[in-house]
Symmetry: C2
Subunit: 228 residues, 2 copies
DNA sequence: CAAATAGTGTCTTTGAGACACTATCGT
DNA sequence: ACGATAGTGTCTCAAAGACACTATTTG
């Protein structure tokens, strides 16, 4: 597959000799979680120029022998060695000057990991210490490497929208959860408070109650549910 | 920008020498219109292998000096020399074997053009004779070049969804239109009939009535509206 | 005036929103 | 018993759905 025949070269030459001068392709990951009642994202401090010392999304060049999803999965597994993680293509960014060194096109992906899962896969604490609150990241005076701030703003918006018409919110929670906890997730993602009774009517068909209660709180315990 | 410094090469070599072995990037266009009460798309018959003689989406390799949007606009303008055309990124397709010759990643775009606009920009008739009905294209026994059939199915779905929560349907119509015509567009895109009175309540705030009537029909003429 | 399409009024049903109430735990 | 959180019943209101009606044109 990597060998290019003469016919292919002729074909490609019709397109301005793209064989010899191609953009590079990367994937960048927006790994979201909810911690301490805040929507957070995994960022890393760049160790090399350009944008040295600045925060950026984890990413990698796409290899010839992997699909985009596989590349995204590879970047993700370098951070958290976990299976069953929500992964969705967000948008492809192709501005010419988005990387000052050369032409790079980036396919961005959204990943969502429950904080409990993140903690168990993070023995060294390198991930959880790299979690940044979205409101803080998106502050006006704050600046990120490349166009990553714009990506995060776009990803934040995608999540806000999808929460309304999908069951995306569940991706932030473990298998079992209480309804007050689920409501809190919705409230954080939507950015507004919800009425308890109405909320429960809305999500009623999405959940099944278990026999267990969530104990450990100082007051009346709440029932644990699963997705139905 | 096309010059790669030694430092860049070192940087890139960390990523498996991607400098010398990169995927190619193309854009593929889903140009939709409505003609004869059917959703249709512009397809071209491939003149060369692979998939010679088969139908495919119009597309092109992305040049180093153009953004993805510009590349999409270039392909579009090769078909229809028109401004003010709805253009939206759909999805990026990165399967390894999607092009049998080599590794090609394709960024797909949806374009929507009112049939009237398409006709005026199509003196030779080369576009309108290349319009294919979506239901026909998506038939099970029908086959298209590359993964283009899958792209069209995905684009069709995107349109069906966005019609419900955006004003996308207006993109299929000229500046002035009648409400029966607008309703027909909604019905075609949604794939079901709508009640006249309810439909008008729903779109009431999106439109402004003009002083003109649409004449030429055999019966009572309907009023022309614009987007508000 | 008949046929056909354009356009409107209104009853019903559904679901979101608001709020008040009851229930059950730990201390 | 009390404080605090969990959980429910129900009224209100707005929008979607269904259907019947009136209006205006051509031939």
């Amino acid at each position: 597959m990597n060998h290019i025949s003469q016919k292919d070269v002729e074909f490609l030459n019709q397109y301005d000799g793209s064989v010899y001068d191609k953009p590079s392709i990367t994937v960048d990951l927006l790994i979201f979680t909810i911690q301490d009642d805040e929507l957070k994202i995994v960022l890393i401090k760049r160790e090399k120029p350009p944008f040295k010392e600045m925060l950026s999304l984890p990413g990698a060049f796409v290899k010839m022998e992997e699909t985009l999803e596989q590349a995204a999965g590879r970047v993700l597994s370098e951070k958290v060695q976990l299976s069953d993680i929500y992964l969705e293509q967000l948008y492809t960014w192709g501005n010419i000057e988005r990387d000052p060194r050369m032409r790079v096109i980036s396919v961005s992906y959204i990943a969502i990991v429950p904080i409990e899962k993140l903690k168990t896969a993070d023995e060294t604490g390198t991930i959880c210490s790299n979690l940044y609150s979205i409101p803080w990241v998106l502050q006006e005076n704050n600046s990120l490497a490349f166009d990553h701030k714009q990506m995060i703003a776009y990803g934040r918006e995608r999540i806000r929208n999808k929460v309304e018409y999908t069951e995306l919110a569940f991706e932030f929670l473990p298998l079992q959860f209480t309804l007050p906890h689920l409501q809190k997730v919705y409230e954080i993602l939507l950015g507004r408070e919800l009425y308890k009774a109405n909320f429960r009517k809305k999500i009623h068909d999405m959940v099944t109650e278990t026999e267990e209660l969530f104990l450990g709180g100082a007051h009346r315990p709440s029932r644990l549910y699963r997705r139905s």
